[in-house]
Symmetry: C2
Subunit: 379 residues, 2 copies
C-alpha cells in the first residue's frame, strides 16, 4: 500500500473513527484503525464490541484533491498513536507506505515515522447487512431526536434493555422512547420509508446513538439512510457508515405509564422554569437527593428547596395559564433540568394528575415530544 | 449589612477569591468567603493555609456604578455555593442583606436565597504586613517570569523547599530560579526597587505563583507592588491583594550546577525543535521514561525515539550554526518541551558539555533566561 493524502482530511476522518475505538478491548486488533487504499479512495475503519464506523475519503471531491494512490492495500495501525501522530505532522501532506513486513512509513515534511503494522486480514469483518428496506431521515432531525430521548436511558446494567432507546416504525412514523423507570422521554417523527416498513422492539444502545450524533454533520441539509436487521442497525451518511449492535430483550410497554387525563395543567416559559430550577437545585444538590418542591400560586409557581446546612431558596416563575386544581409536588431537579434543556420550544405545558402520579411535560406547539417524570414524596 | 451590587462585577471578583478557597481545609470557616461592606465599597476575602486573596469592589469607578451600601457589616458565606449562586442569578443586580441571626438574604429578580451565614469575627485575620521596602514590577513581566520558572519546581514533597521558586533581589535585579534537581529554569529581570533593597533565599510556593498569575490582569500595562516579610509575601495590584506564605529552609546554591564552558553550541529555531520533539515523544511516551535521542549531523540535528511495540520515529531540524564537537545525547522529551514552550524568542542556543553533562538552553537575543536539563544515559 502506498498513498499520499491531505493532512486535514485525514485528521477529520480519523477523529470520526476514534469514536468507535476503545483502548479497553478483549480483541487486541480492535485497538487499531484499519486503513484501506483502493482505486477510488481511502477507507478507515474502527470498531469495538458495540459500534463500528467506516469512513471514506474520495480521491477528489468538489474540485479538491484529497489523495493520490500509488498502490492499493490495507494495514492496521495502533489507533491512539496514529491519531496523535497525524494531528501533529508538520506538512499539509502525508505519505503512507507499507512494506512487505507490514512496517508502515509515514512521512510529512522532515518527519518520518515507522510504525509496526498489523495484518489487515486479521481485522474482524463488519456485519454484512442486506439492504432491503431503507429508511430516510433528515440528519438534523435525527440528531434532535437522539438529543431529546437518549439522555433518559438507564445507566445501570440491572435491566440492560433500558440502557437503549426503543425505536418503533409503523405507518411512516418513527417513535423513539427511553426510560430509566424514574423518567421517560419520547419523540415521534414522520420519516421517509416504504409504507409497509414496520419494525417493532428495536432497542439501540444509548451510547451508540450518542456517538453517532457527535459525528453526523447536520450543516448541509443531508439525509441519513437507515437499515435495520435482526441484530444490527446501520446508519449511512455521506462517506460514513455507522453500525451499532441492537440490544436483546423485550422493551417494556411504556404506553401504560402515560396518564391519559390530568387534574392540573400549567403553561409557562421553558427557559424561565429551567433557570429557576437550575438555581433552586444549587441548595438541593448538597442534600442526598437533589429534590425541589413545586407549588402553584395564583399567577405563578414557586420552586423551593432547602438544605439544613446551607439555607433555603425560593424561586417564582410567572405562568401563562393554570387549569384545574392547585398542586404541591416534589421532584428531582436533575430530571427536570434534563427534560427542559432538551425542549427547544419557547413554552411548555405541564400536566399533573396529583402529587404522587407521574406528570407530563410537552412543548405547547409540538405534540411529537413528551417527557414524563415520577415525583418524589416529600409533602 | 445591606448592599446591592452589579452581578457581573460580583461574579468577576468572586472568581478571583475562589482561587484561594479550598474545600479541603482543617479550619471549617476557611471554606467560606468573607464579604465586608464599608463606606467605600465591598471587600471579598478568601484564604487557605498557603494563599489569601482580598479583592475590592469600589462603589463606582470610571463613571460606572458598581454598588450601593445601605448598611455596613460583614458575613462569611459558604464559598462554593455562593459562587455557584451568583453566577446563575437572573437579574443584572444582586441585593444582599444580613439579619441579626446571620441569615443572609440574596435576592435578584424573582430569585430569593436565604443562606446560613457565619460570624465574620471568627474569620482568621490576614497577616499584618509592614510596608517598608516596596518593589515594583510590571504585571505582564511578572506573569512572564512566573510562566518561565514556575513549571520547573518539584512536585514531590521529599525536599519541600524545591516546591518553591527561589527569588533573590539585589542591585535592582530580581533573579528567579526553580529546579526539581533534574532540570532548572531561571530568569533575571531588572525591577524598580530601592537601591539598598536586598532579599536573599525568598522561596515562594510554585502553586501560589501559579494562582497569582491566573488572576493578574496584564491587559492594561499595570504594575504590581511587592512587599516581602520574614514569612509572607504580598502582591498588590489594583483592587487586589494576594498574600502567600514563604517556604522555610535554605534553597540550594544552583549557580554551581551551571557549566561555565561548552563543547558544542547549536543555534536553531525554537518552534521547529519544539514541534519535532513533541512528535518524537509520541512514541517515547509509550515507554517508561519518555526519552528521545538527539544527535548533530552536518547541517541539521536528528531527534529520534523508538518503542519496541509501536515502531520508530526520526525528525530532522535544520540548524543555523554548529560550533565545536559533534554530539549524541539523550534527554527527557517532557523536560525539553516544558522548557522550549516557555521561550518566546524565535531562535535558541543550546550549549552542551558532553553527553553526560547538563546542557543549557538560552534565547539567542535575551540572556536573562536560562534553562538547564540533565541528560539521560542511553548511548
Amino acid at each position: 500500500m502506498k498513498f499520499s493524502i491531505t493532512k486535514d482530511k485525514l485528521v477529520e476522518n480519523v477523529n470520526h473513527i476514534m469514536k468507535a475505538v476503545s483502548s479497553k478491548t478483549t480483541i487486541p486488533i480492535l485497538t487499531g484503525i484499519k486503513i484501506t487504499a483502493s482505486h477510488d479512495g481511502i477507507t478507515l475503519t474502527g470498531s469495538n464490541s458495540d459500534i463500528s464506523i467506516k469512513s471514506f475519503i474520495p480521491l477528489e471531491e468538489n474540485d479538491k484533491e484529497y489523495a493520490t494512490i500509488e498502490k492499493n492495500g490495507s494495514i492496521v495501525l495502533q489507533a491512539r498513536v496514529f491519531s496523535d501522530i497525524v494531528k501533529k505532522l508538520p506538512s499539509e501532506f502525508v505519505n503512507i507506505e507499507v512494506d512487505s513486513r507490514l512496517m508502515t512509513r509515514i512521512t510529512s515534511g522532515s518527519s518520518e515515522f515507522n510504525l509496526n503494522g498489523l495484518d489487515a486480514e486479521e481485522y474482524p469483518r463488519l456485519p454484512l447487512i442486506e439492504e432491503g428496506n431503507v429508511l430516510h431521515v433528515r440528519t438534523d432531525l435525527l440528531k434532535h431526536v437522539i438529543r431529546q430521548t437518549g439522555f433518559a436511558v438507564s445507566t445501570s446494567e440491572t435491566r440492560p434493555v433500558l440502557t437503549g432507546v426503543n425505536w418503533n416504525i409503523q405507518n411512516g412514523n418513527l417513535s423513539c422512547v427511553a426510560t430509566d423507570s424514574h423518567r421517560l422521554a419520547s419523540r415521534t417523527i414522520s420519516i421517509d420509508a416504504d409504507e409497509n416498513a414496520e419494525y417493532k422492539n428495536i432497542v439501540i444502545p444509548g451510547k451508540s446513538l450518542n456517538e453517532l450524533s457527535k459525528i453526523l454533520d447536520d450543516s448541509s441539509g443531508e439525509w441519513v439512510e437507515i437499515v435495520i436487521t435482526e441484530s444490527q442497525i446501520l446508519f449511512k451518511a455521506k462517506h460514513l457508515q455507522f453500525y451499532s449492535r441492537l440490544l436483546d430483550g423485550n422493551y417494556p410497554d411504556t404506553d401504560r405509564l402515560i396518564p391519559a387525563e390530568s387534574k392540573t395543567d400549567i403553561v409557562l416559559s421553558t427557559k424561565a422554569l429551567l433557570q429557576a430550577i437550575d438555581r433552586a437545585s444549587l441548595l438541593a444538590k448538597e442534600e442526598r437527593n437533589n429534590v425541589v418542591k413545586f407549588r402553584t400560586l395564583s399567577n405563578e409557581v414557586e420552586i423551593s428547596s432547602q438544605s439544613a446546612e446551607l439555607g433555603r431558596v425560593f424561586e417564582n416563575v410567572d405562568i401563562q395559564s393554570l387549569e384545574g386544581e392547585e398542586l404541591k409536588i416534589s421532584f428531582s431537579a436533575k430530571y427536570m433540568i434534563d427534560a427542559l434543556s432538551r425542549i427547544d420550544s419557547q413554552d411548555i405545558r405541564i400536566s399533573f394528575t396529583g402529587a404522587m402520579r407521574p406528570f407530563l411535560i410537552r412543548p405547547v406547539e409540538d405534540e411529537g415530544i413528551l417527557m414524563l417524570i415520577l415525583p418524589v414524596r416529600t409533602y
